[in-house]
Amino acid sequence: MLFYIFALLAVLSGAYMVLTRNLLYAGFALLVTLLSVAGIYVLLFADFVAVTQLMIYVGGVLVLILFGIMLSSRVHDQSVLSESVNKVWGTVITFLILVGLSHTILHANLSALPWLQAADTNVLGAQKSTVQTIGIKLMTDFVIPFELASLLLLIALMGAAYIATDKQNV
């Protein structure tokens, strides 16, 4: 039951984000959506992912976005509003994608898939949390992607800092 409340909240706030013309409202609508998704993660036995979602998205990306809005708009005048374009096009394509995806999902007959039936759905197992499992996995099986991710973050940090610098003042 809780899932459907989160799902509804996520979809409604997402729709609001799309439909509103105010950038700040859109940002806060996105915040609600991200929080709802984090809740859904918890319901799906992915507590570490949910926490990470909160920390990265809500704490990082959203703050970045809000900063971006403030830096790229003159908040007090009209340009903080974002006009929509390609409304017909966008709506039609979006609707077609939604229909296509939904159609696929509903006709995929997922419950008949063998590996889903044979899967062990006991995610938590003996532990209370997935943190330990994930920590072991990252340091063993996924150590290379983990290191690469750190490298990627470093590069992104440097690149972003470099790009964002106003070169006329340097």
């Binding site: 390609n86 966008g90 394509i93 077609l96 994608i97 296509g100 995806l101 159609h103 696929t104």
Partner: protein
């Protein structure tokens, strides 16, 4: 008879060499004047006159050596042409000196000299002064060439050269359109006659295989009259040729030669060019169109006298008589001083030709000689009068439209120009044929000859032949009348222009320039009969007549019309009393003509004379020269022009039109093809080009540079993939 031996080269003699020198002197003068005339002192007139004087002196010397003493003939092979059978035909050229030649030589050089002398005064200050003397030199050269050469081919060449120099001199005043038109007319009309002459030459050459006059005469002497025509044999290159000619053909050949004479000597029906030729300078009219060149036709008849058949001579006589009558009638009503003389010249030339046709060969040549002197005198006098009139008009500033040559504007000139008057009177008396004057002798001779001819011809009972001598008598009367009228208009009565007649004189004490007076006086004096015959009442004792009679010229039996001429001569011998009657009659007619003219015009007031116009139909007919010019214009000139215009139109309308039309169709076709090209071919190319452009435009529309659009497209593709998966 062996033909090559007839035309074998003959060695030159001092006389023929001298003649050649005389011939070439004027050519030298022409070349010098044409090349350096403008740069010589006095613009070279002394050169022309000096050469003329030298030629005249040499001619006199030659005359003394040749006249009645010997005949000189030099001949050389001029050029050779390959002919049938691989043989070579020689064309000869040479100089023939006999009585006729030297007589003409003296006449031509003498009158040429006098005319050049006269021109010094007359042409004084003219722009083309040296050109004028050059042309006169060219003319003298050509005329002497006609006289001297011994064969018909060369004669024809000089004949044409004479026509050309005449053309140059008639059109001497290039700035006058009338002069240019007259020169063209003279040239073209002369060409008509020359065609006949050329055809005659070809006919004679075809049968006799030579152009040489002496050889031709000798060949004809060997021929015989047969039932079919004229037959003779000669040997060429060892082959004997028997030539038989139908009489008709010989007649036509002779008439062809006569055609040349008709053109050059202004005989009917080609006499129309001569009155117009008066557009040239007056001394030129005296030299060329009165004394010498127009006499060339008569000279040609005399040279070729042996080649005319009986019928040809009859035609010649009739043409001559008609010309004499027409010319005399036309002269009756002319007002232009030179026109009267021009028609008089035509009339007198008709007289000469008539004399030729009637067998009075020697009388005709005699008349040629006397006519040359008195007509030259008349023309030069007319020149003096015109000159004086111009001077008077110029000094008193008369309007430009007053015609200096119109005798209606003259009158009473006797008092201010006495010398001119008396010389004019002498020459006019000779022209009229009053006793004691040269014209009387020659006219009397022609009349006697024609009378005897009519008697001989009408022996068969046909009295129509008497018309010819009767016309001769009528012309004497008419001549006297128009000369009387002419004299009365110019010299008697009162001066009819509104200024003092004394303005015409050079100065109070001088009538004309001396250089102009001298030739006139000389020629006037030479109009007296005593210079031509010791007995001024009988032509038979004339030294000229005796010198140029047929006996002097021809060998026995060398004439085609031998029989007739013998009959005429016999008849003439028998006409002792008739001679006297004819002489008296012609004198009486002359006096009567003058009397009639004086009677007609004596009572007229000066004003009436000033305003006189042709009144009656006859007078108009006469004044307009029987409308011959208009007739020719209508019959020959206009149809020709019409034809050429028609052909031009045909060209323009039909040929050019169809070409145009064809080209239009081509253009249409081309446009059609062009359209095809444009629509189909170019269209295909255009389509090839435009389709990519269309697609490109669509593609460019898609490629609008907006990231969101690209994203939308890719998603659209994604949808299509989903659809594909779902459907299949």
């Amino acid at each position: 008879m062996d033909l090559p031996s007839l035309i074998a080269p003959l060695a030159g003699t001092p006389q023929t060499t001298l003649a050649l020198l005389i011939l070439l002197l004027p050519l030298l003068g022409f070349a010098a004047l044409a090349l350096f005339g403008g740069r010589l002192p006095r613009r070279g007139d002394w050169l022309g006159i000096g050469i003329g004087a030298l030629a005249f002196a040499l001619s006199l010397r030659l005359f003394a050596q040749t006249w009645n003493t010997a005949t000189f003939h030099s001949r050389t092979v001029w050029f050779s042409l390959p002919s049938l059978g691989g043989t070579v035909t020689d064309f000869t050229a040479g100089v023939l000196l006999d009585n006729l030649t030297v007589l003409m030589l003296v006449i031509v050089t003498f009158i040429s000299l006098l005319v050049q002398l006269f021109s010094v005064g007359y042409m004084h200050g003219d722009q083309g002064y040296s050109r004028y003397f050059a042309y006169l030199g060219l003319f003298t050269f050509s005329m002497l060439g006609i006289v001297l050469v011994d064969n018909l081919l060369l004669l024809f060449m000089f004949w044409e050269l004479v026509g050309f120099s005449s053309y140059l001199l008639i059109g001497f005043w290039l700035e006058r359109p009338a002069a240019i038109a007259a020169s063209k007319k003279a040239f073209l009309v002369n060409r008509v006659g020359d065609i006949g002459l050329l055809l005659g030459l070809f006919a004679f050459y075809t049968y006799f295989r030579t152009f040489d006059l002496e050889a031709l005469r000798a060949l004809i002497g060997t021929g015989e009259w047969t039932a079919e025509g004229f037959a003779l044999t000669y040997i060429v290159n060892g082959q004997t040729w028997l030539v038989e000619m139908p009489t008709l053909l010989l007649t036509f050949a002779g008439l062809g030669l006569f055609m040349g004479c008709v053109g050059k000597s202004a005989q009917f029906p080609l006499q129309v060019w001569l009155p117009d030729a008066m557009q040239g300078p007056t001394p030129v009219s005296a030299l060329i169109h009165a004394a010498t060149m127009v006499a060339a036709g008569v000279y040609l008849l005399a040279r070729c006298y042996a080649f005319f058949t009986l019928d040809a001579l009859t035609v010649i006589a009739v043409v001559g008589a008609v010309t004499a009558l027409l010319g005399a009638i036309a002269a009756l009503t002319q007002y232009d001083i030179k026109a009267v003389l021009a028609f008089s010249t035509i009339s007198q030339l008709g007289y000469m030709v008539m004399g030729m046709g009637t067998g009075a060969h020697d009388a005709s040549l005699f008349h040629l000689t006397t006519h040359a002197f008195f007509k030259a005198a008349l023309f030069l006098n007319a020149g003096i009068i015109i000159h004086a009139m111009h001077r008077g008009l110029h000094h008193t500033h008369q309007p430009h439209d007053v015609d200096a040559q119109d005798i209606r504007n003259m009158g009473g000139l006797r008092k201010v120009l006495p010398l001119t008057f008396y010389t004019y009177l002498l020459a006019a008396a000779a022209l009229v044929g009053l006793p004691l004057f040269s014209g009387f002798l020659s006219k009397d001779a022609i009349l006697s000859g024609s009378w005897a001819w009519a008697q001989a011809m009408s022996a068969g009972g046909n009295f129509l032949f008497y018309i010819v001598p009767l016309i001769g008598f009528l012309v004497v009367l008419l001549t006297a009348f128009y000369m009387g009228r002419h004299l009365w208009f110019m010299f008697f009565g009162a001066f009819r222009l509104p200024f003092d007649v004394r303005e015409l004189r050079v100065s109070a004490g001088q009538e004309v320039e001396r250089v102009m007076a001298l030739p006139v006086v000389l020629l006037g004096v030479l109009s007296l009969g005593v210079f031509f015959s010791l007995n001024p009442f009988s032509f038979s004792s004339s030294w000229v007549m005796q010198g140029i009679s047929l006996e002097q010229q021809t060998t026995e039996g060398a004439l085609l019309a031998e029989k007739l001429l013998q009959a005429v001569a016999a008849q003439d011998e028998a006409n002792q009393t008739a001679h006297i009657i004819i002489g008296v009659l012609s004198a009486v007619l002359g006096v009567a003509g003058i009397g009639l003219a004086v009677a007609k015009y004596k009572s007229r007031t000066p004003e009436a004379l000033r305003q006189e116009q042709p009144q009656t139909a006859f007078e108009k007919l006469s004044f307009q020269h029987f409308y011959l010019d208009r007739l020719y214009l209508k019959i020959f000139v206009q149809p020709t022009q019409l034809l050429s215009r028609g052909l031009y139109r045909l060209d323009k309308r039909v040929i050019d039109y169809s070409l145009n039309y064809g080209s239009k169709w081509l253009v249409v076709l081309a446009k059609f093809i062009g359209g095809f090209d444009r629509v189909i071919v170019d269209g295909a190319v255009w389509l090839v080009a435009v389709l990519p452009r269309l697609f490109g435009r669509v593609g460019r529309g898609l490629q609008n540079g907006k990231v969101q659009s690209y994203y939308a497209y890719s998603l659209f593709g994604f949808i299509l993939i989903i659809l594909y998966i779902l459907m299949f």
